[in-house]
Amino acid sequence: MSDDHHHPSARTPIEDRVDALEALLVERGIIDPAAIDAIVEHYEHAVGPMNGARVVARAWVDPAFRARLLADGTAAIAELGFGGPEGDHMVVVENTAAVHNLVVCTLCSCYPWPVLGLPPNWYKSPPYRARAVREPRVLLAEMGCAVPDDVEIRVWDSSAEVRYLVLPERPEGTDGLDEDALAALVTRDSMIGVARL
């Protein structure tokens, strides 16, 4: 974040204000610029549902990876370079024609950050946490995710020890798509299990 290459005419007052605040905070020794860059980098690029989507897309195109992913989620996800303190013990649960998986954290808001980014607000809400266990089918229907009656719903309670990721079913009619195109189809909600693709 060098200031040497800016064209002064292209800068806006708000950018100047941010710069001034940064200079002040740095001068007082409250923060250092490298820490700012690290956070920005992390949340702009390193974390987000796209990481999870890449894991899912790889599993769809590579049966051997899919087998490793279901056997040891943490290790298989690490093959793609994703991991960290909030993704230490990942368990991947696979949706099939007969089973739909749903992830919740009944105690708090445990969530696999390295693959899904920031948890949505509703994930932390008491009604979601309670109803996902008590009446998942009704809750899912209200969230716009109708699960056919003959499909079993399995609810997985995340904790600090184990964090779950749903492997959604590959949508029909996607045989011609490559891995990148497939990843673009995978939504955050489908990896929590509140949506079907």
């Binding site: 708000i14 204000r17 409250i30 860059d37 949505p120």
Partner: protein, 86 residues
């Protein structure tokens, strides 16, 4: 990289603009303003709510103002509050 509990709380602020769960920034200064708020809260031992109060007040002051501009005004106030106290 691991983030502290305070940082998690800030980064999970429900008012932040998102798309499919990922934060949305229209310009680099917005991401920096977010990181600065998180770090200032963390390094001064404050609570996320101490910053959030300013953010809510700044949005209330001028609801038409762009979200991230209100954020910067709130950050300015918060930094000065922290500075005055330290």
């Amino acid at each position: 990289m691991s983030v502290s509990r305070v940082a998690e709380e800030g980064l999970a602020d429900p008012s932040l603009p998102r798309d499919n769960g990922a934060l949305v920034f229209d310009a680099p200064w917005q991401g920096r303003a977010l990181a600065m708020a998180v770090l200032t809260v963390e390094r001064t031992g404050r609570q996320w709510d101490d910053f959030r109060r300013h953010l809510i007040a700044c949005i209330d002051d001028d609801p038409e103002r762009a979200y991230w501009e209100s954020w910067v005004v709130a950050l300015d106030r918060f930094v000065h509050e922290v500075g005055a106290a330290s």
